[in-house]
């Protein structure tokens, strides 16, 4: 990444530049933040990217469509299933094939489980960033149950690659329903514990309430989607506005707040976990019978044209844009990743706050760095 050559301001002598280096427990990945301080207050923050840039978009131009699914996993690894889903939906939309009901319900269930485990990891790491290190272990303990469910059905814990164009790769494991119900009962008991430890904690309130407020117009202009945007009042849930898979037949609330500070971004994610549990409740007992995949041609070729599909990941709106020229590999694939858009607002939010608040704001925006760099 190119360094900034020009000045940042007139008081160069008092500028105190520190580095929150690529390896760091709080940056959730490899990213370098160059922070310019005046005393305790942050003047500007500049993220330096590229440490985990793997050239996924370039690679996609030489891989076939089923092969690209495995690359999408590795962008935002905490929402691996949903990343797979967006690509499969785009391909299926282009080929205009009808997906069986069973596939839709399976995909929705897996997506909601992914959402729960991603928000749990957010809870765990946010608590740890702020100093309550026990939260990390409690959050991960419960997340293990979800990962075990994934492993039983798909073989992979975090990077699942379960979707494929036309359906899913294998049918659900016979234990799936039972395990998911066990998990829901356990998690419903445990969630009030989470509230006691962090949400109702005075010290946590001191560190997050009023920190990094984001207005609705700014959220729209900066393209902040997901719980970060919804905490500012920006109604952007793709599951509501453009329902895909089985979201048109489930009832759930879109979690909206207006204050837009770090605390409400945190709260939005915790509430979303509850909403996800409601969605799973509505679907888990009525998984329709039927085929788990549609028979596709051995070589998938998309008709010429451009296709754009978007889904709701735990971090925001993920969009995939495929330009196809009729070959078996796409001409150009572009991923509109939520974290990349969410990153642009960091400098704006942190200006004027103390350096300890930088960690708080950074954690509340919930970045996953490989998604930014692709």
């Amino acid at each position: 990444m190119e360094e900034k050559v020009k000045d940042t301001g007139t008081e160069e002598k008092q500028d105190y530049i520190i580095n929150i280096g690529p390896q760091h427990p709080s940056t959730h990945g490899v990213m370098r933040l160059v922070v310019s301080l005046q005393g305790e207050t942050v003047k500007y923050v500049e993220p330096h990217l590229g440490y985990i840039h793997r050239g996924i978009e370039k690679m996609c131009e030489s891989l076939t469509y089923p092969q690209i699914i495995h690359l999408t996993d590795r962008m935002d690894y905490l929402s691996a299933h949903i990343n797979n889903e967006v690509f499969c939906l785009a391909v299926e939309k282009a080929l205009e094939i009808d997906i069986p009901d069973r596939v839709k319900v399976i995909r929705t269930l897996m997506s909601e489980l992914t959402r729960i485990q991603s928000h749990e990891l957010f809870w765990a790491s946010y608590g740890m960033d702020l100093g309550g290190q026990t939260c990390f272990f409690y959050g991960l303990r419960d997340r293990e149950m979800v990962l075990d469910i994934f492993e039983e059905t798909t073989g992979g814990r975090m990077l699942v690659s379960y979707n494929c164009p036309g359906g899913v790769m294998y049918d659900l494991h016979p234990n799936f329903q039972k395990r998911v119900k066990e998990f829901l009962t356990h998690f419903r008991k445990v969630l009030p514990e989470y509230d006691e430890i962090l949400t109702n904690n005075v010290i946590f309130h001191e560190r997050t309430v009023g920190i990094g407020p984001l207005l609705r117009e700014e959220a729209i202009s900066y393209g902040i989607t997901g719980p970060s945007g919804r905490a500012s009042g920006f109604s952007c849930d793709v599951r509501k506005h453009e329902p895909y898979s089985a979201y048109d037949r489930v009832k759930f609330n879109e979690v909206l707040y207006t204050e837009g500070d770090a605390f409400h971004r945190y709260l939005a994610r915790v509430e979303e976990m509850r909403e996800s549990m409601n969605i799973i409740d509505q679907l888990i007992d009525n998984i329709p019978e039927g085929p788990y995949a549609v028979k596709m041609k051995p070589v998938i070729r998309l008709p010429e044209g451009e296709y754009y599909q978007r889904v709701e990941t735990p971090r925001g709106e993920l969009g995939v844009f495929i330009i196809s020229d009729g070959n078996k590999t796409p001409y150009r694939v572009h991923f509109r990743t939520p974290n990349f858009a969410n990153l642009s607002v960091l400098n704006h939010l942190v200006k004027g706050f103390k350096i300890a608040d930088l960690i708080s704001i950074f954690g509340s925006l919930d970045y996953v760095i490989p998604d930014i760099d692709r």
Partner: protein, 150 residues
């Protein structure tokens, strides 16, 4: 507004523009120098109100270089695609819309980094992921015999 009404409205803004029906969304083809004026109208006009820029995609069409904007309106929930091309591969210049949508700042930097597309009036056009001496990987004529095998 549905696709047809939207197409007509945009045509009425500027009759030089080429508006057509894509498979999914309305598409507008704009010359590179007119992007900014069209965008600044689209965001304020009541009928369109495109306040959300979903993404900016840089494309290498082989002979041309192009940029594709996906816009959405949070109020009307309609979507628009703006396309623009230039044949100048040495010094492709497009209008920057970073002053209209703040998210364009990073997106345009990415297009510059990976494809070499320059944006006029961008507040801070630097490379984002790669170092300054790297080529432009997403171009179709990018050659890297060390790292890319055919």
């Amino acid at each position: 507004m549905d696709k047809i009404q939207l197409a007509e409205f945009i045509k009425s803004l500027d009759s030089d523009l080429e508006v057509k029906e894509g498979k999914q969304y309305t598409e507008v083809i704009v010359p590179p120098s007119k992007i900014h004026s069209l965008a600044s109208q689209l965001i304020v006009k009541e009928e369109t109100l495109f306040d959300f820029l979903a993404c900016i995609t840089g494309v290498d069409y082989g002979h041309d270089l192009g940029v594709i904007y996906h816009l959405r309106s949070t109020k009307h929930q309609h979507m628009l695609v703006i396309k623009s091309r230039t044949t100048d591969r040495e010094n492709p210049q497009f209008d920057s819309v970073a002053d209209i949508w703040e998210t364009a700042n990073l997106q345009e930097r990415e297009a510059f980094d990976l494809l070499g597309i320059k944006f006029v009036n961008h507040p801070d056009l630097r490379r984002l992921f790669l170092t300054s001496s790297w080529g432009f990987p997403l171009r179709k004529d990018y050659v890297d015999n060390d790292n890319i095998t055919s």
